[in-house]
């Protein structure tokens, strides 16, 4: 709509400048600072001079290779198998720690698969980073759609004209007002493996058939447990944004739909949903950003464990930059994260673009 108005360069800049100036000084400048750091060997704390190292930090994080392991053979040439009939392979460390293969030095097994008699092993120079990357993407892929959908369901639920609906609205919103650090502390009691509330509740509901689980201590459930808690905590906020969107839809449209005899689903499909376009874009982007920034829950609840099953990119960036005093390594992760999210949001924008 702005295009139809006259150009007003000076006023336009004037209005945008305070906000943009602050962002430039306190977000963009430090980010470029971080980018510069990622090209050096700077430590957080060190009397040694800083040196430019080019893309070495990126290589140290992203280095990948595939090696093929042949099974061990017995003297008669047959494959050496263990009691279960699985072939025995030489240990990966016999290659990565051997002087014969300097190109693989310092790398570690990430995962492997079977290819005929041989095993193909993907080795990475930074397995923890790779796991953090996969976990973060998994978290986003699950949390973004589920949380957005649940928030919309809640918003529709709370958008009814009922006596006392405000009380429910407030209750649904309550987890949002409690700090995520506090929430994480509370949920540690709930997820506790011995006599945690969740275990006792599930045991009660199944009349004792459910055996307790160590939700945060088991690599197969830890990330899921954190996802569930994160959704629980944040869904109320996105409910409020959906609600704001719902409120902008004119009541006359609903009246018209009712006169036309539209059912509930049709009303939603043809009246509500089209009216929520901008809100939907906003929510999807906001949730995606917040999901990529996953940090506090990990820091309080699992420290990235067990067995790296809850490592995330931001947690690793902080752990390296501060904990291990490798500020250039931490900055490198930040830059990779930035590029990754930028790519994803450009795709999102393209997918949700307004059709001309």
């Amino acid at each position: 709509m702005a295009s139809r108005l006259t150009t007003s360069n000076r006023a336009g800049w004037g209005f945008a400048l305070p906000g943009f100036g602050l962002i430039a000084l306190f977000i963009i400048l430090p980010f470029f600072f971080a980018f510069a750091l990622s090209l050096t060997n700077q430590r957080l704390v060190s009397p040694n001079p800083t040196e430019y190292v080019g893309l070495q930090n990126y290589g140290d994080l992203l280095g990948l290779a595939v090696i093929e392991l042949e099974p061990e053979r017995l003297d008669d040439g047959s494959i050496d198998r263990d009691a279960d009939g699985n072939a025995r392979y030489p240990r990966v460390r016999s290659i990565t720690r051997s002087d014969d293969f300097p190109q693989y030095s310092g790398m570690r097994e990430w995962f492997r698969w079977q290819s005929g008699d041989n095993a193909r092993v993907v080795i990475a120079s930074d397995v923890v980073f790779m796991k953090a990357l996969v976990n973060t993407l998994t978290f986003v892929a699950v949390v973004a759609p589920v949380q957005a959908a649940l928030a919309l369901v809640l918003a529709l639920l709370i958008n009814q004209k009922l006596r006392g609906i405000n009380v429910f609205r407030t209750i649904y919103f309550m987890p949002v007002v409690v700090s995520i650090v506090v929430v994480s502390l509370l949920w540690r009691f709930i997820y506790d493996g011995n006599d945690g509330l969740l275990n006792n509740l599930l045991a009660g509901l199944t009349f004792g058939a459910f055996e307790g689980r160590d939700w945060l201590g088991d690599p197969s459930t830890a990330l899921g447990a954190i996802m569930a808690m994160s959704i629980w905590q944040a869904v109320g906020f996105h409910m409020v944004i959906w609600l704001a969107g719902l409120q902008t839809i004119s009541p006359t449209l609903y009246e018209a739909a009712e006169i036309e005899g539209a059912g509930r689903w049709q009303t939603f499909r043809y009246v509500t949903w089209p009216g929520l376009r901008n809100t939907a874009v906003l929510i999807l982007i906001v949730i995606t950003m917040q999901a990529f920034a996953l940090f506090a829950q990990i820091d309080v609840m699992t420290n990235g464990g067990p067995l790296d099953s809850t490592q995330t990119l931001v947690f690793q960036a902080v752990e390296r930059g501060y904990g291990r005093q490798d500020i250039s390594g931490g900055a490198t992760i930040s830059v990779i994260l930035f590029v990754l999210v930028l790519t994803i949001s450009l795709i999102q924008r393209w997918l949700t673009r307004e059709k001309a």
Binding site: N9, G19, F31, L44, V176, V182, D195, G196, I249, I333
Partner: protein, 292 residues
Amino acid sequence: MAMVSADNRPLRLAARYAVLLLVATIFVFPLLFMVMSSFKPTQQMLADTASLRAFLPVGDLSLDNYRDAFARAPVALFVFNSVLVTGLTVLLSLAICSLAAFSFVYMNWRGRGLLLSIVLATLIIPFETIAIPLLLIVSKLPWVGLDGLQIGWLNSYRVQIIPWIADGLTIFLFVQYFKDLPGELIEAARAEGATWGQIYRRVVMPLSGPVLATAAILKFLIMYNQYLWPLIVVQQESYRPVMVGLGYFFQLNVAWGEVMAYLTLITVPVLAFYLVLQRAFIASIASTGVKG
């Protein structure tokens, strides 16, 4: 709210409330746990976590945890600091970000698209990843105060406020909302010769209740829960906010009862803020029913 929707047959109504209540229990139980625990001695509280007793005011209840929490840490000071920093940041942020969004949506100027893209790109940068560079920057910034020129912003309220005023998300919230406002209103005002400042103040802002409330809540939550930033820029207790104060309670043999009391205390201002805003929020929606 006396008017009730068309199908108010008692059974359907009861079913609706049942669903609402069920969902409500899911959201309320950890907080109920926090509040109830704050009245119980630590030993009892830990024993109660195994059962539904965790949510009930049963056993040996007292205000001892609150008394001990006040003795252990200057709780009132921390809450004051947090409320002050949060309040000022929210106000400044609403003003400056809405102004910028107004310019991005309604005004036509060279570089607008590029600048907006840059602002949106900053959404992607998690704060944790720029904290150290930002620390180095603020420690060198000048400030002219009552006692003349100073270098370095550490140990102050301003270092906790100014870097947080403008952010991509708040601007984005306003931009998305402004796009939905009827453009004819602005064009009509322009035609009548109103200045941009007048349009912003008299036309757009009065229609922006919902987005102001949403942006205020979001900013409030971010600011009130600050931890990493004040930890590294504030060394004096007199400027510490509530989340840094939480550390005072994690000593050997954590007194969980006191922790729960402290958590309850620091949650009260946020809840109060939300309740106040919610009323404003509802009122503003009611008054802008003309849109669409």
